[in-house]
């Protein structure tokens, strides 16, 4: 998609509807199905982990940590063949997210905040710490990865691209988290571990999608000064709430049911993606409405919203 003129700008000047991108939402659905299949393989085949020794489990765990991200990238490219985002950019944002997380997580979480020593102590410290430390740092990483690698690139030419690139960065963060989980536990318990990796991935990707929406808007419109910080905070809030709810629902306890976690994670991810999809559709409609203005010298008059935006959306 060589873009000397951005589609969003074209839409503004011509009054045409911004392009739709069903490939994104379809790839999200296929990702969820793929992740369920991934979990089912390790949970419905008993004793699959017994064939591996400790080193094998570590290696397998590291490979498994990559699976959710690789699945999403595969599905996305299968669905998006008509107008693909450049692979190098999507992978570049994914790697940037992962590298930033790898570089910052231990210094910030381990040394600066020592989260293990206080975050799980009370429900309120778990919730607030999850939002203000884990969520904010993760979303700052996603923001930095998208902003540095792709934000000013002409290939970032639709609002939905903000979500696509932010999800890629979020997957990078989730991959590093999954790596850390495998290394800390000296391998991976294939049934519970595979579910944990999937829930981790869904959480970071969903929160990143929310921030991506704000990034997509900021790419094409002059936004108020609070707009992008609001996106970071909403993403952080979602990250903190997501992991708090999973934990409080019994995920981490010995009696917890990991399948319940998985279903809860998928439900929360679907709700988030649906909300983000709705926001994108409304934004596209708004772009269309505002672009259909009547020029009268320097005066611009917006057309009424009713009945003018029916063809917009994705």
């Amino acid at each position: 998609m060589q873009a000397s003129t951005l589609p969003e700008e074209t839409a503004r000047s011509s009054g045409a509807s911004p392009r739709t991108r069903p490939s994104f939402l379809r790839s999200v659905w296929f990702e969820l199905l793929g992740l369920l299949l991934f979990v089912a393989i390790f949970n419905l085949l008993p004793g699959i982990g017994s064939a591996f020794n400790d080193a094998g489990l570590i290696l397998l765990g590291i490979v498994l940590a990559l699976v959710p991200a690789v699945l999403w990238l595969l599905f996305f490219y299968r669905m998006d063949r008509a107008e693909p985002e450049p692979k190098r950019l999507v992978i570049g944002v994914y790697l940037a997210g992962g590298l930033l997380a790898a570089a910052l997580y231990i210094p910030i979480f381990g040394y600066l905040f020592a989260v293990d020593s206080w975050l799980p102590q009370y429900w309120w410290s778990q919730l607030l710490g999850g939002i203000l430390v884990v969520g904010v740092v993760s979303m700052a990483i996603v923001y930095a990865a998208v902003r540095v690698v792709v934000f000013d690139n002409p290939e970032f030419d639709e609002r939905l691209d903000g979500i696509i690139y932010a999800v890629a960065a979020g997957l990078g963060v989730a991959t590093v988290n999954n790596f850390a989980y495998v290394l800390q536990h000296g391998g991976v318990n294939l049934d519970v571990g595979s579910i944990r990796m999937v829930t981790n991935t869904l959480g970071y990707a969903s929160a990143a999608a929310v921030l991506g929406y704000f990034l997509g808007q900021a790419r094409f419109e002059k936004v108020p000064i609070f707009y992008l910080p609001l996106g970071v905070l909403l993403g952080a809030l979602l990250t903190g709430l997501y992991f708090f709810i999973l934990d409080r629902a019994g995920a981490s306890s010995l009696t917890g049911d990991p399948w319940r976690d998985l279903l809860l994670g998928i439900f929360l991810a679907l709700v988030t993606m649906a909300a983000v999809g709705w926001l994108v559709r409304r934004s596209n409609e708004e772009t269309l409405r505002v672009s259909r203005v009547v020029g009268d010298g320097d005066r611009w008059e917006a057309l009424p919203a009713e009945g003018t935006a029916a063809e917009g959306g994705d």
């Binding site: 700008e9 503004r12 905040f113 020592a114 020593s117 206080w118 102590q121 009370y122 410290s125 607030l128 710490g129 203000l132 430390v133 904010v136 740092v137 700052a140 923001y143 902003r147 934000f151 704000f214 808007q217 900021a218 790419r219 094409f220 419109e221 002059k222 936004v223 108020p224 000064i225 609070f226 707009y227 992008l228 910080p229 609001l230 970071v232 905070l233 952080a236 926001l279 409304r282 934004s283 708004e286 772009t287 505002v290 672009s291 611009w300 917006a302």
Partner: protein, 230 residues
């Protein structure tokens, strides 16, 4: 709510494209927001670290604080204990406070000697590592003994875990006519990790170094601190 959603959907009235300076302004706003959030998180962390409850012994003669998340067990009037059930070790870090009346003619030093004998005869591989003169409660003389011994906390339950080297610190002092012992113990490998929790207890006792004793007239050279200083 609807207004907020509207602002999220429609951040600008005109669809005006952003200038580079607008994006830099947004970057700065994001950085400030992130730093502010992290500062708030530091405040919450400190709140968790310093959260404490108060225990009283002997009708309020002694009050001291202990970490809020530790589980307290009030014994009789003259004993109290609290345990950190979240300890990483099989030996939970704990606080044990006891008091007893001083015997006739008994001083702090004699009471401390008696306590040391009891520990040495009841604990496995007990050894005292260090002792120091200090003071508590704004000027009450105290003796602080640091010691270690071997405990087998999982033995009774039949679990196959290894015994644990326990490090302990007794803060001993006399209030009125009663001898008090505030004992802090933890797995020796977890002692540093629990230092913040122990500090809640020792800070509430206002445990400080004893003032240096003035050297005897004409004394030249040597240390001017009490024997057994740390």
């Amino acid at each position: 709510m609807a207004l907020w959603i509207d602002r999220i959907i429609k951040p600008s009235e005109t669809n005006e494209a952003p200038a580079a300076s607008d994006q830099i302004r947004s970057d700065i706003a994001v950085v400030v927001t992130v730093l502010f959030a992290l500062l708030l998180a530091l405040g919450i962390r400190n709140q968790v670290y310093s959260a404490s409850n108060t225990a009283m012994l002997d009708d309020g003669a002694l009050r001291l604080a202990y970490p809020e998340r530790w589980v307290a067990r009030q014994g009789d009037e003259s004993s109290f204990s609290a345990v950190n059930l979240g300890s990483a070790s099989t030996y939970d870090a704990r606080l044990e406070v006891t008091s007893r009346p001083l015997r006739e003619g008994e001083s702090l030093e004699l009471a401390r000697f008696d306590r040391g004998l009891k520990l040495a005869s009841s604990l496995d591989s007990y050894r005292e590592l260090e002792a120091a003169e200090m003071q508590v409660l704004n000027g009450v003389p105290a003796l602080v003994a640091t010691y270690a011994y071997v405990a087998d906390p999982t033995h009774a339950s039949g679990a196959p875990d290894l015994p644990v080297v326990v490090e302990g610190q007794d803060v001993m002092f006399v209030l009125g006519d009663r001898f008090y012992v505030v004992a802090l113990t933890a797995d020796a490998t977890e002692w540093e990790a629990g230092a913040r929790d122990f500090a809640i207890v020792t800070d509430s006792l206002r445990l400080t170094d004893a003032p240096a004793r003035a050297p005897a007239p004409g004394f030249q050279g040597g240390s001017n601190t009490a024997e057994g200083g740390n």
